[in-house]
Symmetry: C2
Subunit: 506 residues, 2 copies
């Protein structure tokens, strides 16, 4: 007879093996995006498929189910967040999710995603929704089937959201997003109407790429991102990847005539990297050594990129250094002009280029459309019109074509319904964490102005990073801030920051 | 009942899986040497150990033995080199080799190698053989046990040689090496005594590393190395690695004040790369898609680096381009002076820095010492003295300390007895292939002088690369050249090349 203790140890070993397989797959993916020769794509796809198969086989082995039942019967103490109970909770969650969906559906979705991404690429290039439509219809159909297998209490969309933000519900997200929207809309309108506007040309001067790399790397290192256990490379679609303890890599892309893309991109990925580097190495291979989920991960990229990196205190220290690095482009610029330009707010079509104020409106639009798609209230044919109508309502612009509209993002082409909300949730969490950090550490912004970010990093490590998956997103937000997920800290922050910049008072 | 046909198909699938696992491990190793952050070493070691374990488990599964027996009982035609018979022969060879050695011995050797390499690194740095001695004694003991398990007809060393050059025998290598040695020694002595010596300072001028990379890459591409399915990176210990079809990577290292290291290093690795890129992609995953062995692999690096790349015809085309690339350093240099300098012959202590004429003497010395070690005729304590005595005999120099003597190479520290001879065998094969190519394609060197290497590459692809492991080294040499392995083409080539340069007539 296997004891609960023995079953738990066996699960640890299996979990560690799965993590190792995934970390190998992670390195292969990193290499594919950075250095793989173009003609190596076919064999790389086979390598990745092999590893995915291994990982899936390990995860869904009926023995895991038996071990889980045995271990769960053990007495693991009263604390639901104790090591064993937290690990068992997370193992159960992934085992159930991955065994509920039949293999045939997983494979069908996998094939549909490959075809879908190819069709989407062409559709976006030609701005022709018809090319993508049959694939999207298929993917929506498979996603809806998935929700039936996973199960849900209130609405099918819950089952999808749970993949990216375990424990979160559609109703809760909806409530918070609506409150946020009601405050954002007048703020955006006031900013657009303001006569005071930044000199954005400053950021479109010449910023040689070799200097951008060194300057960005120095900034990431100053925040605390450890380059002895990481590295910065150039890619088309930037990302951060944790291979394991001691190996957390970030990537970015540069535009020679645009300062923001490279620099704030690096801070964004460094934020993800700081989180990964702060996970407890000793717990590697178990949920306690892993990031909570997409929302908390995004909270860290947003916090370091925006709340810190686009703040005036940060630039008090870094702007003189930027001037030394780019004397011809920034020598005649004042800190105030630079700071205002770096914080330009302007409704625009593309989500990934959006500013701090308008960004979440892009997300809400997607969240609403996705819910209507999954509930069956919105037919595939009607997606472009629904998108364009909401876009005008939220951002005041008329979408000229679908490549700037509903075809701009890759997510739907691989069936990633439920992913988008985590971007906005991450921003909300970031605002809540930042507010709590400012309360706990009153001299924080003075430290930033002196180039010292260690107190913030230590606070985040202690309160968030070191816990891995011990708590779920909503729980960690409540534990750290004493409040449930809320729009209030974000809108307070945006008003405090952009009110004076644009001289608006909403 | 499994039919031989079904068993063969099953073996193909297993072989493909093993190849895939190894190719993933290959990429991980490449990354470790190129871009891995220093602190990622521990998790990388775990990833590699996991993959090695997977590969070993697949290879030694008793089911493989059953499938082999079933498949071997089939009727696969009269041609011993037909697809199925060749694959079955190679699968049998690796299955027997890996199942004959008990797992406990494999694991013991693995541990001894880790400790041995650490001790060797320190011993070489301090030039203190005593630090390495106990580890070397242990590794020798384990290697001798291995020969007992593998079995051999004539001498234990055969069992080790077979790992790196399957089908080759100690007696045959000895015969060829001795004939070679007897001709090399007087040639080296005459060259050393010659009053005509090159102006080597030419090669120690300033060669900016960014230019070396572009110039070397252009040369590799000109030879036919496909950079769309490959890449060139910088490492401490250069190597070539075939990840799979469409992904064959080479590496090098540069010295700013020494032309040869980067340039000829690139040609050497590009030679390995051309071989890997010439293997039949359709046979990937089976022995027919793999390189024959170390000797044939080395024959290609040597052929492209030395027989082609250090030849006068090659430089007739490339030297004007080198002058354009490095005008300050080579503008005032004549082709003849450059060519002579690039072909300097001078006895020296370090094998990897040795020239074409003295290189094989370094190998013979190691071959003799290894045989004596494995046969038990040479005690560990006596290795340094035996090395130094032979070194003086072969190269006319007195070894000042063991870091320039028996501690210089890593091979023994991981138990790589039997590896060294393949370097010299490769050079002999290269000479034989090159002689045969010149006979088959009489205008070859005129084509080189015109910058055209395609006829040579096509000839090598047709005669060697496309066959994968269909033939063993000795067989392929006989098939391509009509002759058994021989020292004669190499000594003829060396006399023809270095006789005029040094004005010696031996």
């Amino acid at each position: 007879m296997t004891t609960p203790q023995q079953a738990y140890q066996d699960l640890c070993a299996i979990s560690r093996e799965i993590t190792l397989v995934n970390s190998i797959g992670g390195l292969l993916s990193w290499d594919r995006e950075t250095y793989m020769p173009a003609q190596g794509a076919a064999i790389r796809a086979e390598q990745n498929a092999y590893l995915s198969g291994q990982g899936h086989r390990l995860l869904t082995d009926p023995r895991v189910g038996e071990l889980l039942s045995t271990a769960e019967a053990g007495d693991w103490g009263a604390d639901p967040y104790g090591d064993e109970r937290a690990n068992l909770r997370e193992w159960r969650h992934s085992y159930d999710r991955s065994t509920k969906i039949p293999t045939s559906l997983v494979e069908e979705m996998s094939r549909a995603a490959v075809l879908g991404q190819t069709a989407w690429t062409e559709a976006r290039r030609k701005s022709d929704f018809q090319i993508f439509k049959p694939h999207l219809a298929k993917i929506i159909n498979l996603s809806r089937q998935t929700t039936d297998y996973i199960g849900y209490t209130e609405t099918p969309y819950d089952a999808l959201l749970d993949e990216y933000e375990p424990g979160e519900t559609t109703a809760n997200v909806k409530r918070v997003f609506e409150a946020l929207r009601d405050e954002l809309l007048p703020l955006v309108q006031a900013i657009v109407a303001s006569p005071r506007q930044p000199r954005t040309d400053i950021l479109n001067r010449d910023f040689p790429i070799d200097r951008q790399k060194l300057f960005g790397e120095a900034a990431a290192a100053a925040l605390g991102y450890n380059l002895l256990g990481g590295r910065l490379d150039t890619v088309v679609h930037p990302f951060c990847i944790g291979i394991g303890p001691g190996d957390v890599r970030i990537t970015t892309r540069y535009t020679q005539n645009f300062f923001n893309e490279g620099f704030f991109g690096i801070l964004h990925e460094a934020g993800h990297g700081l989180y990964e580097q702060g996970l407890p190495a000793a717990a590697f291979g178990t949920p306690l050594g892993e990031a909570v989920g997409m929302g908390i991960h995004e909270s860290q990229s947003r916090l370091w990129e925006n709340f810190l990196g686009r703040g005036l205190p940060f630039w008090r220290h870094f702007f003189p250094r930027a001037q030394q690095t780019y004397p011809a482009s920034l020598g005649d610029v004042s800190l105030d002009d630079f700071y205002f330009a770096a914080n330009t707010v302007k409704p625009s079509f593309i989500r990934v280029e959006a500013d701090e104020v308008t960004y979440n409106l892009h997300i809400m639009l997607r969240f609403e459309i996705e819910q209507a798609i999954i509930s069956g209230d919105l037919a595939v044919d009607d997606i472009p019109a629904a998108w364009n109508e909401l876009f005008t309502k939220y951002l005041g612009l008329k979408v000229p074509d679908d490549s700037l509209g509903c075809l701009q993002d890759v997510h739907w082409s691989f069936g990633g319904f439920g992913y988008f909300p985590t971007y906005a949730l991450g921003t909300l969490y970031a605002a809540q964490f930042y507010e709590a950090a400012l309360q706990a550490l009153p001299n924080l912004e003075e430290q930033f102005a002196a180039g010292d970010y260690s107190a913030l990093l230590n606070w985040l490590r202690t309160n968030i990073y070191q816990h891995g998956k011990r708590y779920r997103s909503r729980e960690i937000v409540e534990r750290v801030t004493g409040q449930p997920t809320s729009h209030r800290p974000l809108t307070d922050y945006l008003r405090r920051k952009f009110g004076p910049l644009y001289q608006v008072n909403v």
